[in-house]
Amino acid sequence: MTADNTTDKTGPHGEGPLLTIEDLRVDIASRERTVHALDGVSLSLAPGEALGIVGESGSGKTMTALSVLGLLPPGGEITGGRVLFDGRDLAAAPAPVLQDVRGDTIGMVFQDPLTSLNPTMTIGAQVAEPLLLHRPGIGRKEAWSRAEEMLRLVGMPQPAERMKVYPHQLSGGMRQRVAIAMALVCEPKLLIADEPTTALDVTTQHQILELVDDLRSRLGMALILVTHDLGVIAHRVDRVAVMYAGKVAEQASVRDLFERPRHRYTEALFSALPERAAAGAELHTIPGLPPGLVTRPTGCRFAPRCAFATDECRAGEPPLTDAGEPSAEHRFACFHPVPDEAASDEDVVRPAPALPAAAPGDVLLELDALVKEFPLKGGAFARSRGTVSAVGGVSLTIRRGETFGMVGESGCGKTTLGRIVAGLEEPTAGAVRFEGADPSRMSRAERRAHRRRVQLMFQDSTAAMDPRMRVGEILREPLVIQGVGDRTEQEERVAGLLDAVGLPRGAVHRYPHEFSGGQRQRLGLARALTLSPDLVVADEPVSALDVSVQAQILNLMRELQRERGLTYLFISHDLAVVRHLADTVGVMYLGRLVEAGPAEQVYARPLHPYTRGLLDTVNLPVVAAEGTAKPGPSPLKGETPSAARPPSGCRFRTRCPLAQDVCATTEPEVSTPNGGAHQVACHFPSASPRLASSV
């Protein structure tokens, strides 16, 4: 389906819609309270159409998807509205009717491909299962061969052999292919995919989205793609519904939505994306948090966070209307929408770029041929079987006051590198030099004092904070350990830190789990700063956060860096975030640093084919101009090999489009073909700049 013919398809006068959701209401009851998760959601979908549902966590996007098939979690209940599919109301349908529809005419794919497959059943049995359920005429043998055919269709190599293996024997990407095969084996009319790529790496993500796209056009089915990722939605659907706090805030064709968002929430969401901000500029943030939905808010649910809210917004709920839009397809629920004549993106006046970070100072940290190997333990058998090369000889320098962004996919060793720098792991070989001094050669006392100067900010602050300590005690702990000041001084310092990260001082009396994800990252940052370190290693500090909250944390980190002259080693898989924050960027692949240099240069003129592939894979939250092709097939084929048996020579060669014999035999030397500080470890660095793009 192309974007062009969807409008007349979904119109009231076209052929009837495949799925109509009318005024859907869902409550989720738990031991303590009842949350009104969905509060009057209406959507429709034409046969063959692709609808994206996008929203932040708690917006109700997943609940909407789950309600269609009656798969709500325990305590969840549809309290009103209808879900019409093929003329039947699924919301009111008895279990046998739902069971007929599930897996047959509607297939579903979930987020986590590991947990959503049965660990003790073979792939083949799981893929064939829907056929045995829904096609009574089909024998076991035919179901098996059709399942194998389906696995071939979803791009599973050697499907006949893979039929007999168990989920844990496959990689994440392959497991998700299995989940897709399972959902499609009965050739449904509708596929519902709930965050199907969120748990996967960028390159795998791209492959899976390609696959879904391809299968959709081959099988002519409709698609509901639920995601928090505006980049994913931009390229893969015809129409988008933006959800906020259990309601649809805006829906439009994907082009209209990205080019002319009308709801103030949609607008704010777009502005909070790091991709949309000038490098070095402060990000737009949306203050506050979405409402909790235990009580139904009066008025517009976005009003408390909206800069344009008036008494009207606070008093009454805006209806979802097309308010004079040329296409009845574009509807939004806002009293004070973005004016229609709004200028296109190019004219956006961005806030003046912030002062460039202080001119790079002297070298603060130096890594010299750092190696870290872990003994490989095979599951339940503690017997060691070889080693995993997590970091395979990385050298780099970080200057005082800069932000060094380290990017790479999962398993590339970036986290291990960060942990070594933070002193949580000892390197197997090589050296860490902090202002020229190697911590591993320090005396016990020196080392203890050195601890103050490097601190780590964890990805998951929930896990990194003792659940039985109050925040005051957690923040004071570093001072107590290092014996800084007496209790009063420590408490003063903690109060100052809370001010600095924008949390109320009263927070000291509460427990970590009482805070939202974003607030906990603020606490994490505060604790990392308690000892006034020189270097903060931040390991994926925003990857668990929603876009609007992510922007708050990134701004905070940047501001504190300016105020306190901090140096960051910022580790992330998110190229846009790193691009936004980092002065210098390093790219890791399978334990090696393949490229490093000034952020501008690395992003504009990537030298390593891996960097280039990674940058080309990213789904930008921008719709392609009319007539231009959708993003091409993923430039990075296949999967990252195991770090237990890294390829000889250049570790990237097995996936590299440019690989030659020399790559297998010789490890590439570091060179600087672009001059200056821009380094690459490749036999055939590319010379041409990348086509312009915001990442």
Binding site: E267, A268, S271, E282, H284, T285, P287, G288, L289, A307, F308, V338, P339, A342, A343, D347, V348, V349, P351, A422, G423, L424, R448, A449, R451, R452, Q455, L456, F458, D460, A463, A464, M465, D466, P467, E477, P478, I481, Q482, D499, V501, G502, L503, P504, G506, A507, H509, R510, Y511, H513, E514, F515, S516, Q519, R522, R527, L531, N555, L556, E559
Partner: protein, 308 residues
């Protein structure tokens, strides 16, 4: 121009931060929330009530119902319930059954509590050491518990019974000697997982040492598991006392516990002296079940308090 219209909040401005009003709200303490979940569990509350009643019966009962429990009176042996003021009849040695149950209850509860606590204490220390050090120390210490666990407790107890004559203190030690294994393994598992938690890593990164890790982080987080297990240990210890009596290792008269009363009653199964069997048997079942209900309720409560 529409983008500029979106307010840029300064992160340093506390006014812009979410949850100010939330922060002002008083936080119920963890203990209070744990209590709330516990009291919401009907079986656990039943357990508490039953336990309190049994405690009152055993310790306050003798104040109300004073009976001869030292000197035997064979002329009044095995009287059926109701006869001459003996509500539940008399034992084979002529003791008043109700009064006997009170005295025996004191012994059973004391041995159970003491042995359960002793086993928990020793097992916790053993398990914590094994789990915290890990590696070879752990492997060696765990093989020892494996070996000790391999010989079923009842067999070990019988052999020991054949070697020594029991007193209350000896019973406590013997029972603790077989019971410590389960808390040891449990705490070891807990310590193994806790020592790798990120908050322990975070503390190490600040320069904190092993003692702080153990006492500030590992022990407080494992304490819930230990308390729950302790309740089960007490229940098991009371069961062990009764098994020991059945297997011929009971405290010599005039002392008594519910187990020895029950096994004494078994001799008279053929005679139909049911009052010698059911009252002590039911007392054991009640007290053991009560501790189990309480333990189960506590486990729920401790789990809940860590949930979001």
């Amino acid at each position: 121009m529409r983008s500029t219209a979106v307010p840029v909040t300064s992160p340093g401005d506390p006014g812009a931060t979410p949850g100010n009003e939330e922060a002002a709200r008083a936080t119920p303490s963890l203990a209070r929330r744990t209590l709330r979940v516990f009291t919401g569990n009907k079986l656990a509350l039943t357990g508490v009530v039953v336990l309190l009643l049994l405690l009152a019966f055993s310790y306050l009962g003798p104040l109300v119902h004073d009976t001869e429990q030292v000197h035997t009176d064979l002329s009044r042996a095995n009287l059926p319930p109701g006869s001459s003021g003996h509500l539940l009849g008399t034992t084979d040695l002529g003791y008043d059954m109700v009064g006997r149950l009170m005295v025996a209850g004191q012994t059973s509860l004391e041995i159970g509590l003491a042995a359960g606590l002793l086993a928990t204490l020793f097992g916790t220390v053993y398990g914590a050491v094994s789990g915290y050090f890990g590696g070879w120390i752990d492997a060696a210490m765990m093989r020892v518990t494996d070996a000790a666990l391999a010989i079923p407790a009842m067999f070990l107890l019988v052999v020991v019974a054949a070697i020594i004559t029991p007193g209350e203190g000896v019973l406590i030690v013997i029972i603790a000697a077989v019971a410590w294994l389960s808390p040891a393994r449990l705490v070891r598992g807990e310590a193994l997982s806790l020592r790798d938690r990120e908050y322990v890593q975070a503390m190490r990164m600040m320069g904190g040492g092993g003692a702080r890790a153990v006492f500030k982080h590992i022990v407080p987080n494992a304490i819930g598991t230990v308390i729950v297990n302790c309740t089960f240990q007490i229940a098991d210890a009371i069961l062990y006392v009764s098994y020991l009596a059945f297997l011929g290792l009971s405290i010599p008269p005039p002392s008594a516990d519910w187990g020895s009363m029950l096994s004494a009653g078994i001799t008279y199964t053929q005679n139909g002296y049911w009052w010698l069997i059911f009252p002590p048997g039911i007392a054991i079942v009640l007290v053991v079940a009560a501790f189990n209900f309480i333990g189960d309720g506590l486990r729920d409560a401790f789990e809940v308090r860590l949930r979001k």
